[in-house]
Symmetry: C2
């Protein structure tokens, strides 16, 4: 394999001149530069990034911290991040934390010790003290806001919850059952806030018996509906604050002989890829998942390349997609 | 931040001794080693991987080349790879090639210039000459066999196609329509080979009018069924060589007023996560996707750590999962 010395020799210049050209450091006469580039081409020389990154202090690598790539929401967002990263010549290291604080900590330490240029978090960070100590490394959060100093890309979940509930109330003129994930998570808390705002705007009193917390999974939605019907209660319409909960709920309703949407209307949240394929296809609140990833990667790379930039917070509008389940 | 010099000073040893301990190179007296480790702990010293990798020649990073992380099949496999990599202290760089030869080439060059320790390909490689020239870097293929010298993890697709078809023939005693992706891809070719073997074993003649190639997507399956019915033909049972094709086909059948499974039985292939949630849930051939990723990562890391190991080829058995669509 060709070395920088071989190039210098063949181009008849000093090693340092080749180095200037490779690292774009000092002005080199155009004709000399041209000659060096030609020799680089001829000898098929590839500068080794590891060695080079010691000089330029950039590894052109960013880390993605997320709970689990198999969650359909994260998959699309990750793809958006990777596409933008690739466009700018960066690679992404994928880290599945399983929301495990210890695992997250180990990943963070590894990423920092590999001198990555920046990190994108999808969701919450459980080791804030670590990233606080590494303020040189830009960070962007998706779906979580952790203060004004750290960039974030968010969706207006209050508005999303409001839109879904208002739509059901106007269409059905009846009570809306809310199926939600843990309200300790800000996104679910805000969707419920939107639900409450919509009730208020229609002059409907809040009934806590209509709000059910469950696991954010197909099984979670399925089980909660079975429990409600087994207790002898009925349902008129459902706003499920996550598509997987909604799909599990639809499945349980159909097994109980309840028709969707004739007997019960269902609105989900997220617009994961299978929402449109399902039978019946799911009315839902669309989150621009891919776009959130793109936006986050752009924010991050801008900050890697210019450390003086201030933090930005981007809030995206969710959108109602009407399909067969309502 | 503490340097190796600070440690040497505080532990009262030579810098080279600290280096021996850090890189596990030479025997150091246990009590000296103990003292050095203590100082490392005290000073919270973190060896910088970039600098260190120049010495150990390992970056503890592997690349995953795949068409698109959003394809549900690849997502689970990627998770399996990442889990094993993490267990052994490796990170994974994610590369979405979109089956684009130029993009794949650029990724390969970047990965090699970053001195990654190994690469896992999910699916085909379109730039074989590049990996041939880099035989020092171990490679494992998933779902594609490219010669005896390169490790692979495969599923026995002939057996899978046979099992699906045989099951439909025995159950329905009628003709089986095959919906398949491009037969130029070995996995689809082998599933069709299994289909033909099953026909033969039942003494049924092959009818090429029953074989339809379509796009490997929900839309592909949906469109092909609409075309078949619009032409006035009917269908008795379907083996779709991919779950997404099967789900699109089921949707089109139901829109046409055809009941599944009462009028038409449908068997898919892959067992993607939504296959069990769909209404009706899909009978399918299960591929151990997560496990394939795990197995591939284990093969790769074994070869990174011991270059003398010979290639291995692992062939996994697919399994029929019976659900509501048959």
């Amino acid at each position: 394999m060709a070395t920088i010395r071989d190039i210098a020799k063949k181009a008849n210049v000093a090693v340092s001149t080749v180095s200037y050209v490779l690292n774009n450091r000092k002005k080199v006469k155009p004709e000399t530069k041209e000659r060096i580039m030609q020799v680089i081409e001829e000898l098929n020389y590839q500068p080794r990034s590891v060695a080079r990154s010691l000089k330029t202090k950039k590894t052109l690598t960013i880390g993605i911290m997320l709970p689990d790539i198999c969650n359909l929401f994260f998959t699309e967002t990750t793809r958006g991040i990777e596409d933008v990263a690739n466009k700018y010549g960066y690679n992404v290291i994928l880290c599945n934390t399983d929301k495990d604080s210890k695992k997250e900590k180990e990943y963070l330490n590894t990423l920092y010790s590999k001198d990555i240029d920046g990190i994108i978090f999808i969701g919450t960070c459980r080791n804030h003290h670590i990233i606080k100590n590494k303020q040189d490394t830009p960070i962007v959060f998706i779906n979580s806001k952790v203060g004004d100093n750290i960039c974030s890309v968010l969706v207006d979940d209050i508005k999303g919850g409001y839109t879904a509930t208002k739509y059901l109330l106007e269409r059905r003129k009846s009570e809306v059952t809310l199926l939600t994930g843990p309200l300790s998570r800000s996104s679910f808390f805000e969707r419920m806030t939107g639900y409450l705002n919509a009730l208020k705007s229609e002059g409907i009193e809040y009934n806590e018996l209509l709000v059910h917390q469950c696991d954010v999974s197909f099984q979670g939605g399925y089980d909660i509906i079975r429990t409600i019907y087994d207790e002898g209660s009925g349902i008129k319409s459902i706003f499920a604050a996550s598509d997987v909960i909604a799909l599990g709920a639809v499945r349980a309703l159909i097994e109980k002989g309840v028709r969707v949407p004739e007997d019960v209307s269902v609105v989900g949240y997220d617009d994961i890829s299978i929402a449109g394929m399902f039978i019946p296809s799911l009315t839902t609140i669309h989150q621009p998942k891919y776009w959130m990833g793109e936006k986050a990667a752009e924010l991050l790379i801008k900050r890697i390349e210019d450390r003086s930039l201030k933090s930005e917070h981007i809030v995206l509008e969710p959108k109602l997609i009407v399909r067969e389940s309502t």
